[in-house]
Symmetry: C2
Subunit: 245 residues, 2 copies
DNA sequence: TAATAATGTGTACCTTTTACATAGTAGGAT
DNA sequence: ATCCTACTATGTAAAAGGTACACATTATTA
């Protein structure tokens, strides 16, 4: 049989043993890190914990952990969330992977960042663990690893995401006033919005349920309380066509 | 000295040796896979290659490779693109990681998906390599690994992205007619758009440069040719506030 | 009871989107 | 040459949505 060049017959040698192939692959340690945002005192906060590492003594880091053998990334992130906050009914979204070779002082570790939002008052933190606490996003600095970069990126992700999806309601009590809702948007987007137009916008979406209750214990005229109509939202997710850049 | 519980004094034992810590971490094989889109004959295409694996004999897969020791994910993706298409001046965006434990028949391999767009006519493919070719996105099926899922996700990413960023121009010739631009948007978004409103939209953005040339060799009245004004776009990137879901 | 600090609604204006109409021009068939 | 075809190119009116305002109302508290 006449020899063919590799260019002509590239399929000659298919790899039979996939297991053997994968065993020869280089391997890297992989972690997940969770940027868990909350809202309190009209400020956006993020859950941080003191670093375990002497190298980063006194610096805060995000909640994270190693990805276990055969564990999905999503599952690893949910596990971290559950272990630290007791929550397991919270949404969690992958933002992106961070892979700078020097991002970890112990050698190469790649991490996948996740973002989550939760209502601070709904969750008792296990605060005995390494000074776990809510830290204002705007005053964060000197974080361990590249966690400041991760927080910044997750925050940008959140700013964009909250405008297109009803994420914000995860940060608020079940019943909330329009003022609380607006405060949330203003804090996250770092803008000030016209109160009347903001209300009109949400009114026109028709996704808030007026529950005929009023705010209690506010030092001024109380506002109406609303719930978000998740059911209606799920039924009528819009597909969005609008070229604009 | 009185003993304290772990809850009271959690910082007692900081980890001194970060290197040792990382050495104990479980490790996983990591790859990048690139969904590289092109546009031809009014169809959105994606670059695929026949799988090396006997297990997936005859099935197409995306272009991908192992991430090397100390290589950034972005660099690995650019390397794949360069090796396969000869291009190194193309943008490439991370979409997300895929980590299902059974996604690779050889055992656990996590992959990070990247998305890129390029002009089919600008790049000579090294088509001797395993039947590398452009495949219509709409008729793709039976891909190796979870690559169909990756393509689907990258396609969704692209649909959203192209509405907010001027990505589409990477798929077109440098000089293009408005009809070509509209065909591109219609193909990617899978909608039909009103021609007059489409033109008005781009006219109002004022980012197309009329180069005073006409189409050649079209079997009908030729249209004007334009270039995209990347320079102006870079100067005037808008920050977008518009709650809507 | 008056000042304060909110809530709750309305309106006029402007911009953008949508739906649709008409005129013009190159190529090809006859 | 003339007409048909298949586009380009532009315009316009109505609807929808966003912006910038003003004013009356209602709890609280000083």
């Amino acid at each position: 049989m006449k020899r063919k060049t590799a260019a002509e017959k590239p399929h000659e040698h298919l790899i039979k043993d996939a297991k053997k192939l994968v065993l020869e692959y280089p391997k890297v340690p992989l972690t997940v890190d969770c940027a868990i945002f909350g809202f309190e005192e009209n400020k956006l906060k993020v859950l941080v914990i003191k670093s375990d590492l002497e190298y980063y003594k006194g610096h805060y880091s995000l909640l994270g952990d190693i990805v276990k053998d055969n564990e999905e990334l999503d599952d690893a992130a949910y596990r971290v969330l559950k272990e630290r906050t007791g929550m397991n009914d919270v949404f969690l979204d992958q933002v992106r992977a961070f892979s700078h070779p020097d991002r970890h002082p112990g050698g190469r570790v790649i991490t996948v960042a996740y973002c989550s939002l939760l209502n601070i008052n709904h969750h008792q933190l296990k605060i005995h663990d390494n000074d776990l606490n809510w830290h204002s996003v705007s005053t964060l600095k000197d974080m361990a690893f590249d966690h400041k970069e991760i927080v910044d990126e997750c925050y940008s992700w959140l700013q964009k995401r909250i405008q297109e999806h009803p994420l914000g309601f995860n940060l608020l009590p079940e019943k909330f006033s329009l003022r609380e809702l607006q405060n949330l948007y203003e804090a996250i987007l770092a803008v000030s919005l016209d109160r009347r137009n903001f209300r009109k916008k949400f009114a026109s979406m028709d996704l808030l349920i007026d529950i005929n209750e009023m705010e209690q214990d506010v030092p001024h005229r109380p506002g109406k309380l609303y719930k978000f109509n998740f059911e209606k939202y799920e039924k009528s997710k819009r597909k969005w066509i609008g070229i604009d850049f």
